[in-house]
């Protein structure tokens, strides 16, 4: 892993004008979402060793149970991955395919209309997954594999364009520095979004993600959270993946099992600042936070208001 390099950019490079965006519709699978709809993307790991669930859904039956559960809880999207973000034992392309492709096919068969996202950075894997029915390619490693967009385009799938600061997949940040972290986030994600639509991805299916913790120390992740409105202003729908991450643990001195409150607080802030998709482990709680933010913003009426009204 080489140092990702300190960025001197002033951001907003790439000329990425989101073409949608008069109405700012986000399309996923056969569905369309307006800018005031806040979506929960439920995490389903087909890994024996992911940091938070520790392999709870490694078995296919457990993973399918998890899908049933999150759909029942109101998840808008399921995000299926076969490789943990942390470094560790290599997961080959063939093994990643073995872990995820039959499972995605099974989920598609069980839920013909469910939006299925797949968490992979490899185009070979993404191709098999899209053929099996995936609607969205969630590339958390910042466009490391240049051929990913063409696969998404070929299958009419969406693409998440994220910021990993140039780090290779499955590596940790080490003394990473940015002159201006949000400028770097914007420069890289907007360039990736540009690349995606140039390669034929439907612009209404492109999202951008600051990728908290990826290529970032805690101060950096807090800064991109604080300044998320700048990312929203770029025009692309913003996805955030916050759930139980280290920046929350470090902010609160909270261990792996003590980060839910911090996660939900951060979720609320990001929702308030305009993020639209929230990748999460706890669907019910996340849904409730998002509904509450929508209610405060006046974009969703209260579920039932009688107080003082009788």
């Amino acid at each position: 892993m080489g140092p990702p390099g300190r960025r001197r950019s002033s951001g907003r490079a790439g000329g990425g004008v989101p073409p949608v965006q008069a109405e700012r519709i986000l399309r996923l699978g056969g569905r369309s979402y307006g800018p005031q709809q806040r979506l929960v993307m439920a995490i389903v790991n087909r890994t024996p060793d992911s940091f938070y669930d520790r392999g709870a859904t490694w078995e296919e039956t457990a993973a399918m149970e998890r899908v049933h559960e999150v759909v029942g809880e109101g998840a808008d999207i399921v995000d299926i991955g076969g490789v943990p973000a942390a470094p560790g034992a290599e997961v080959t392309v063939a093994e990643e395919i073995r872990r995820t492709v039959p499972f995605v096919a099974a989920v598609r068969a069980a839920y013909p209309d469910l939006v299925i996202s797949v968490d992979t950075w490899r185009h070979q894997v993404a191709r098999e997954l899209c053929a099996a029915g995936a609607d969205l390619v969630n590339d958390t490693w910042g466009g490391w594999d240049e051929r990913l967009p063409e696969v998404a385009a070929e299958y009419g799938a969406g693409l998440v364009c994220s910021h990993a600061g140039g780090l290779p997949p499955r590596t940790r940040p080490y003394r990473v520095e940015y002159d201006d972290v949000m400028a770097d986030v914007l420069e890289r994600t907007l360039a990736l979004a540009d690349r995606a639509i140039t390669r034929g991805v439907d612009p209404s299916r492109v999202l951008i993600d600051p990728a908290h913790d990826f290529g970032k120390n805690t101060w950096h992740s807090l800064a991109v959270t604080r300044r998320l409105d700048e990312m929203v202003a770029a025009g692309w729908p913003v996805l955030v993946s916050l759930s139980h991450k280290d920046f929350i643990g470090e902010a609160l001195n909270a261990g792996r099992d003590e980060r839910l409150v911090g996660t939900l607080a951060t979720t609320a802030v990001c929702a308030w600042l305009g993020a639209r998709v929230f990748r999460a482990h706890q669907v019910t709680q996340t849904r409730q936070v998002l509904d509450m933010v929508s209610a405060i913003r006046g974009e969703r009426p209260p579920a039932r208001a009688v107080r003082g009204l009788a």
């Binding site: 470094p87 003394r175 120390n217 101060w219 001195n253």
Partner: protein, 256 residues
């Protein structure tokens, strides 16, 4: 100290401290995290200053090999956007414990982090004498590093060298670079060289392996080796540990 008959030391004294961002107290938040490392660095800097050098040269990694203005300052904005002059500020306040609240002060230009940390170490022990701030690019070949070190050795009769360098970042599963089984042996070469005072093994440090083990400080070690080609008769290791999977060594080396 003094020039020895064999010319091996020429009155050079060196301190070694890791260029870890978390040496800056502001960056670790409310928790000091490793005060013992900071204390060891302060002690090493203090001993360096007490030898009465005519000039102290600080050596550390930078984006280019260059001498920086002596009034250059530590700038933490690139690591903690809330702490510096760029990228906004933390509403409501400062982080306790930093000797430079907010991470930047008026003065010279912002320095590469290793030099900024070294400059602060000198400030904190009250050193106000001449200083030379020398950054070295990560790709600087060994021969150039050795030459640079040899040159620093001759800038004065009594030179103090503060080398901001550390070892691999691959010593555990939780390490920034994950566990690499080659890391321990690599770091042991560094530790043995410093402990024995015989820095010759550092001259031949494998730059490819260093890169794979995230030893960004490789040039700094070779500048040190170039500055102290003979055996240092007196060395002391003040701190040696890898609490985050990164090999930190704080030490002091001197002639007689």
């Amino acid at each position: 100290m003094g020039v020895r008959g064999d010319g091996s030391l020429q009155g050079i004294t060196a301190a070694i401290c890791p260029p870890a961002p978390l040496l800056a107290r502001e960056l670790t938040g409310l928790d000091p995290v490793i005060p013992e490392l900071r204390r060891a660095c302060a002690a090493a800097a203090e001993r360096l200053v007490k030898t009465g050098p005519e000039v102290i040269a600080v050596v550390g990694l930078g984006r280019r090999t260059a001498v920086w203005p002596a009034d250059g300052r530590l700038d933490l904005a690139a690591f903690g956007p809330a702490l510096g002059t760029r990228g906004g500020s933390v509403p409501g306040g400062s982080v306790p414990g930093g000797s430079v609240p907010g991470g930047s002060v008026p003065g010279g230009p912002p320095l590469p982090l290793p030099l900024g940390l070294g400059a602060r170490l000198l400030d904190d022990v009250g050193y106000s004498g001449p200083r030379l701030l020398q950054s070295v690019h990560s790709g600087e070949p060994a021969a150039a590093c050795l030459r640079l070190g040899a040159g620093l050795r001759t800038i004065s009769d009594r030179v103090g060298l503060l080398v901001m360098a550390d070892g691999s970042a691959c010593r555990s599963l939780r390490a920034p670079g994950y566990l690499d089984p080659r890391a321990a042996a690599f770091d042991a070469v560094i530790a043995d060289a410093v402990r024995s005072g015989d820095l010759a093994p550092l001259q031949a440090m494998d730059s490819d392996l260093a890169r794979e083990l995230l030893v960004a400080s490789r040039p700094g070690w070779q500048v040190l080796a170039g500055a102290m080609p003979g055996r240092a008769p007196s060395t002391e290791v003040l701190y040696e540990a890898d609490p985050f999977g990164v090999f930190y060594l704080v030490a002091w080396l001197a002639g007689e």
